[in-house]
Symmetry: C2
Subunit: 392 residues, 2 copies
């Protein structure tokens, strides 16, 4: 007689079925076969010489993508949120002051994370779709004297690409580290970690422009950031995200011995490596230009259809994730559902402060093409014809 009180679940007897879908939401994006097949290669040990070579490839690829020579550059074993926590857990100690810029959801989340570890958090807030002037930022830096200032370069919830020029210098003037979220922008919009704005901590995700599956998150720390972190009075709250350990695992600390820290997701590293190789093959500037051209074509076509872009200021529009003002008289959920059902294509509604205000379309990495734009436009036209429109 069986000793088991919980029987094997019937539902696991069904085969795993996953539809193919056009992933034109704010992420994850589609993964091309070259990258998904890389992830299906055999598992090797997380401490084997071959994986250390692959990790070195990844570090070089991230340095290129971020345009940085920071030695402390690697990938976190997790998604963008893990990288965000890695940045905050290491750079901030309890009772230190943190400033986050909120013009969408990401500044809110960064504030939440910093509060949880006992930081004194202040925020500057712009309406969804808005940006901050350097004067506003300086005022807040002067007032709150934070050790870290958080800003999203690509605000995927509102479709904003935030200008970065001069902000790093301001942060440094006030002895503050400049922490930038580039999850939705990297590879799709110009960003020079070292040259432009002297960013101290930069992170992104694998599942947007890189077209790798979600599960790894590139991150880089400047020497200034590392200097502060190495002088911490307390250990970071997370062993898993402790920069000292991670730097050793990734061979960034120059020590001869690499200790066992955690079991790296080796197959996710394969895909990430391959996605960085694809980006290097195209060339960063070509990728930026392609995303810009496709976005311009998309934005002009949307306006020709009579739709409105949510971000008024042209230079502040993300080329990767476009926010469209939710069409008047329609239920946005009906539109996205209709397009999913009829066109097998994901576009999404708002997130956080932009819920109900926008439709979001992400065209990232291999999805950034005129052909994709034409598909989205056709789907949108069809939806606007078929979905219910109230006359009020």
């Amino acid at each position: 007689m069986s000793s088991l009180s919980v029987p094997p679940p019937q539902r696991l007897q069904n085969p795993l079925v996953v539809p193919h879908r056009h992933m034109f939401g704010p992420g994850p994006s589609n993964v091309p076969p070259r990258i998904s097949q890389a992830g299906a290669k055999p598992v090797i040990g997380h401490m084997h010489p071959e994986i250390f070579e692959i990790m070195s490839d990844i570090r070089s690829g991230i340095q290129y993508m971020f345009q940085t020579r920071n030695n402390m550059t690697f990938a976190v074993s997790g998604t963008g949120h893990t990288a965000m926590e890695c940045a905050i857990f290491n750079a901030v100690e309890a009772r230190e002051s943190v400033l986050t810029a909120i013009n969408g959801i990401w500044g809110e989340r960064a504030a939440d994370m910093a509060e949880r570890i006992g930081a004194r958090v202040n925020t500057i807030v712009a309406p969804p779709g808005g940006i901050f002037t350097n004067a506003e930022i300086e005022q807040a830096l002067f007032k709150f004297r934070p050790v870290v200032f958080f800003l999203a370069h690509g605000e995927s919830s509102t479709g904003v690409l935030h200008p970065l020029d001069g902000i790093g210098q301001l942060c440094h003037k006030y002895d503050c580290l400049f922490l930038v979220d580039s999850v939705a922008s990297i590879g799709g919009a110009p960003l020079y970690m070292d040259q432009q704005g002297s960013i101290d901590i930069l992170y992104t995700g694998s599942q947007k422009v890189l077209n790798a599956p979600p599960g790894t998150a590139p991150i880089s720390f400047s020497d200034r950031a590392w200097q502060k972190i190495s002088q911490r009075r307390t250990k970071p709250v997370s062993f898993f995200l402790d920069l000292g350990w991670l730097a050793n695992y990734w061979g960034c600390d120059g020590k001869p011995a690499r200790l066992y820290h955690h079991t790296g997701p080796v197959t996710a590293f394969y895909s990430l490596r391959e996605s960085l190789a694809v980006l290097a093959e195209e060339g960063l500037e070509n990728s930026w230009e392609r995303h810009r051209n496709v976005a311009e074509y998309f934005h002009a076509s949307l306006e020709n259809m009579g739709l409105k872009l949510f971000v008024k200021e042209k230079r502040a529009r993300l080329p990767t994730v476009t926010t469209i003002v939710a069409p008047h008289g329609y239920d946005w959920k009906e539109i996205t559902s209709y397009i999913m059902k009829t066109h097998n294509l994901e576009i999404s509604g708002g997130l956080g402060p932009s819920v109900g205000l926008v439709l979001r379309v992400g065209l990232m990495g291999c999805n950034s093409s005129r052909a994709s734009v034409d598909m989205v436009l056709a789907a949108l036209k069809d939806a606007l014809n078929h979905c219910h429109r109230s006359k009020v």
Copy 2:
């Protein structure tokens, strides 16, 4: 002229090459094609209805594997260490008392994690390879009055399978949650979360008996655990690992709306789902028996070769990870390197307190077979013949 100061790395121009290798170390184990190909299926959204179905499959599969009816059962988006932090971050608040049992590396790491979040940590320590009596555990529970007691069911660093009977009851007598690490044991040795010992929090990894790539970590919380957690005075230090959010994302909290928490590693979920399906197809008891039989055959053969098992007590030997006393007169590193080079086969040395003391061989999931044992034995014999043996 290019605006880039960091050129595309040459090393990314080389194709990605990953060797196939017999992964007979303590993990990760080999991933069969069915599971790796599941992970190469197309990416869909982390909030699409199809992924919620797959996540429900995973929850059922984990409930079966853990033998639990806990509703709060899901997979953490990370490796075993992430699950360990998820357990501790949620179950423990600053200044609370935590007790960890150290008979290898895992109790040390749990203690480190709890200390980082400000818990008062006490430990009981057994020599590597040893186990604790229930009387010793009760004494410590009585003395330290912890809110959580940590024990590794499978101590992969020392090869110990710790008995669980009666310990949960002891914990409950002292109003303490029983937290068990089963990363190296689950699926390979009997464990009944609900019936046996009333475990309150149980977690494991994907990359051992399950034969999925590293990157997801099944976890389950009892009602008692959830009750304590839902009455926390402070938020857990991690937003990413906050059980309230995770429970909602995984549909464990019964709320109709599932909010965006983080971008789940959907392709890793596919592989995990498939690995759980494989386990359900074989049947948990069959898998336990297979691992036991293979381990007995392996252990007897090792002793016939004149090698000694590190864990003296038979019932305390892990059937998944075998620790062999490092052969006298040899350099263990030479043995593992020789076997890797000559036989393309990973076995490993010790970890933490067992470094230098043991060789470790993991035969987990699809690797647990007589054929694998014979390969390891042949490799070991060959190594002992060819490696340098000092006469001292």
